[in-house]
């Protein structure tokens, strides 16, 4: 029997929170639990392509330590979760509209598409919803 799907809304651009969201999403996905990640607000800016790691990952003391010690990169973890498990990643349509970004402006091979909040919330009734 499949586990209850996990729905994760990521709004924070803080490195520590992006890291935790990517860990939760990828580990759950490879553990036979379908995961649906919805990226909105400032978190969307973290996934812009063509920016440096310094610009992408900003946070506090843990962020500094994780980068010094080369903790797994969140984008790499999400790609692994998609490749090895059931993970879908959608960008928030509203956040795309407001920023003027398109899916082509975001890191390749991370996003499956864009979604509105109403549809995401309706889908999330089938599982557990986390907000980061």
């Amino acid at each position: 029997m499949s586990a209850e799907p996990l729905f994760i809304v990521l709004c924070s651009p803080e490195h520590e929170k992006v890291q935790m969201a990517a860990m939760l999403a990828s580990v759950a996905a490879v553990s036979d639990r379908p995961v649906h990640l919805f990226v909105s607000m400032n978190a969307l800016l973290v996934f812009r392509n063509g920016i440096s790691a310094n610009e992408r990952y900003q946070g506090g003391a843990m962020s500094k330590l994780m980068r010094e010690k080369k903790a797994p990169d969140p984008i790499t973890m999400l790609k692994q979760g998609k490749m090895l498990g059931q993970l879908t990643v959608n960008a928030c349509s509203m956040a795309l509209d407001v920023t003027g970004l398109g899916l082509d402006d975001l890191e390749a091979e991370v996003f499956d598409g864009q979604l509105g909040l109403t549809k995401y919330l309706a889908d999330a009734e089938a599982g557990e919803l986390l907000f980061i």
């Binding site: 990828s26 553990s31 036979d32 797994p72 973890m77 090895l84």
Partner: protein, 76 residues
């Protein structure tokens, strides 16, 4: 007996060793064993839990100096 594949994930942080193990298991044949070397302290609990959840088989854990050798058999 088939040769056991060894993955050296020492120095990788969570969930790196687990992800490397899963990637190797995807490519392995049923019945083959993978030995993952991990210095991440969580791996000795995380990997057996994952193995149990997805239906593979734990062969054993060998605690070495500063790391663990975790052996998993692909069961399906």
């Amino acid at each position: 007996m088939a040769q056991r594949q060894v993955i050296d994930a020492r120095g990788a942080f969570c969930p790196g060793p687990l992800m490397e193990l899963i990637a190797a298991l995807k490519l392995a044949n049923v019945g083959e064993e993978i030995e993952v070397l991990s210095s991440d302290h969580g791996s000795i609990k995380d990997i057996p839990e994952w193995v149990k959840k997805v239906g593979h088989e734990m062969v054993g854990i060998d605690q070495k100096d500063g790391y663990a050798a975790i052996i998993v058999k692909k069961a399906k």
